[in-house]
Subunit: 424 residues, 2 copies
């Protein structure tokens, strides 16, 4: 397959996808639901091939669990798509409507980004989620999933793409890439691709960012912090920290660094250490911390993203020191404060420069489903447009429409006409 040629066709189809009616996009989604349900056995058979190959290649049980696509997963993705069809149309939504002058109407309307490329891990449900978000938002999409689910993905993609065409959406709206070298080809299509969303390891995301002129949405690191304030309720703090560390250690929103107010350290740290160690978590900390509760002594500059049952701990003198540490060493992803003091919480939440700033809850809530977005294409730490879990809104930009009756700028420059700026 020649990616450049395919993407060029996709770019030509993009304006048709962008101007498609909501009914047509919802019809495509409902046809996909019917088709996925009807072809369940074919999907499961393809998935069995992938699972057999994974076992042969001695892939770990944890990963095999993610490759699996069974009745339960099918029911989940079907429910997800049905939820999407019931959401309001994210495009053609008027976000500003202003009369500039008699008969000169300015309207800002949401519209799709255009052509997006999503490179994601080996998880068949991700393929369904990403393609259905693209359909709903009128975007054309190139999808490249992990090679370990190539058979499952191929069947899922065929069924969804057929539904798109049957509903009357453009033929080149969706494209599946299967070869790893096609990613490099895609990175060079900066004249046709409007946005790339890479998901995966830190190194992989950085590689994408460093090798393309196409805007990239996503995040490389996920060094999330929890700051336990002097006014913290320990009964909340400990379960939150344990959850944020162990509920899914490999996730980007798992906590990696704990900052604890010095005033409560002697009382809080031993209880925390006990709870963490009972959950199998290894503690690394500055000398002040390890003096109190043991563990490996390290400098704060050695704190890292572990994605494992390890956590860094440091003491701070107050919320300002916590904020400064997080803004300097964090990755602007998600950071939480544990405090009963709402003034301190506001200070933290206004001054920490991250996509998610939480009070008294687990960093693991940073997720499109948990935010009620239905699904997510990724999590963004960029500030230019989407931040945090990216659902439909993040797949949409806007354009200004201006409706006139022959108005020219010269008349406004000369003072013959003047604006009256009336928001409608």
């Amino acid at each position: 397959m020649n990616i450049r040629e395919e993407v060029r066709r996709m770019k030509q189809d993009a304006p048709f996808a962008a101007s498609s009616k909501e009914e047509v996009r919802n019809r495509a989604l409902l046809l996909a639901v019917a088709s996925l349900t009807e072809h369940a056995e074919e999907i499961f058979a393809a998935n069995h091939e992938d699972l057999a190959a994974a076992k042969e290649n001695q892939i770990s049980e944890a990963i095999i669990k993610r490759l699996k696509f069974d009745e339960g997963k099918l029911a989940d993705v079907v429910r997800g798509i049905e939820q999407l069809t019931s959401l309001p149309d994210p495009i053609h939504r008027v976000t500003l409507r202003r009369e500039l002058d008699e008969g000169l109407l300015l309207q800002r309307e949401t519209c799709p980004i255009g052509v997006i490329g999503v490179i994601f891990e080996a998880r068949p449900d991700a393929l369904v989620q990403i393609s259905s978000l693209s359909i709903k938002s009128g975007n054309c999409a190139v999808l490249k999933g992990g090679k370990e689910t190539v058979n499952t993905n191929r069947v899922l993609f065929r069924l969804i793409r057929d539904s798109v065409i049957e509903a009357g959406l453009p033929e080149h709206m969706l494209l599946q890439a299967e070869q790893h070298n096609e990613i490099d080809e895609l990175l060079e299509c900066d004249d046709c691709v409007d946005l790339l969303i890479p998901r995966g390891s830190n190194a992989f995301v950085r590689y994408i960012m460093d090798h393309t002129k196409i805007p990239v949405m996503g995040h490389a690191d996920g060094i999330c912090h929890i700051y336990v304030d002097k006014d913290a309720d320990f009964a909340k703090a400990i379960p939150i920290i344990v959850d944020a560390k162990i509920q899914y250690t490999a996730a980007c929103n798992a906590v990696e660094t704990l900052l604890v107010h010095r005033d409560i350290a002697a009382e809080f740290l031993p209880a925390l250490a006990r709870a963490l160690r009972e959950s199998g978590v290894t503690i690394r900390g500055t000398a002040e911390v390890t003096d109190l509760i043991g563990g490996e002594t390290v400098e704060e500059t050695e704190f890292r993203e572990y994605l494992d049952l390890i956590v860094s701990v440091k003491l701070v003198g107050g919320v300002q020191e916590a904020i400064a540490h997080i803004n300097r060493f964090g990755s602007h992803h998600t950071d939480s404060i544990i405090t009963e003091n709402s003034g301190t919480a506001e200070e933290f939440m206004n001054m920490v420069d991250s996509a998610g700033v939480y009070q008294n809850c687990s960093t693991r809530f940073a997720d499109g489903f948990r935010y009620g977005f239905g699904a997510e294409v990724g999590i963004s730490t960029g500030k230019i447009h989407a931040r945090g879990p990216v659902g439909l809104d993040g797949l949409v930009t806007y354009k200004y429409k201006l409706y006139g009756h022959g108005q020219i700028v010269g008349d406004y420059a000369s003072g013959k006409s003047s604006f009256h700026f009336k928001d409608l």
Copy 2:
């Protein structure tokens, strides 16, 4: 001056600017108004030095006009700042408020982008506009203006920065760069600078884009189109085209290419050619066009951004061909259709992939002031965040705030708790 060191201090001050109260930012703006008015003579004296140097360097009259900062310009910028103070606060604005579960409240709030660098042409009013937009939006800003107004800029900057500090905003909120080599230093500060906004020539903007990892907002080319449909009202079309071409030829939103429906060419083109030539405009066109009205015959691939009294003309078979031409050869800036047919207009406006899509008016309306934004920092053709004239909204991003009472993800994963997603 060591830019890296100064920008690092600015980054540390950014959270304080971000959490500053609206009153404090408005007070800084009003203090600036008072100070600029009070020091008018000092500003004008500095401007006379710049003008004298410009004359000595034989700079053209057209440019000297832009360097000038007199009573009229001062009155304009003062009015602009006063307008800004009366606008609602663009930050700390809640754009989503959703109860995820009992006692678990998600809020999406606008916040400043952080540290922005703006590199702009020699126009003293631009310095005032950009710094006042930054103050209002709680952003820290590095300002680098054109060297031809260095004396005027120095006085204006000092007065505004003093007002910022007097109002109680952070000391390092604003920084002026004066040396051209400081731009290259700034491009390397990707750990501290969140956004760059370069204004100026095509080549300059491309240089910035190609030499930094910092996100860049703006546009290089401005190849704007006007499509004259078969259902056009000629009495509107001709004054609109003349205005869009000659009202300010050096502007990025001046029209460069005209597309005319073949069915009306024989009748429309001679009248158009007469009006354009009377205004001193040279016509270049495809053979079909020059056969009818003369002028230099060129291929459509030779159409360019002229920023001069020159225009390209081509015939098309209908709105779809016009859309395809614009999406392929345009620069996604601003494109207008002249038609009385609202169906054709909607088709054009939905399918042309540009930041501004107009019906029956001049492309020259693409401007922050004319959109009622008060002022603009630039015009963006990017789709990832701001598009079109960038006013306060474009200087603002958002963060998600989540308020809990000890909630952990494990309880939702296990089914012990479940979300109820209630928009408030």
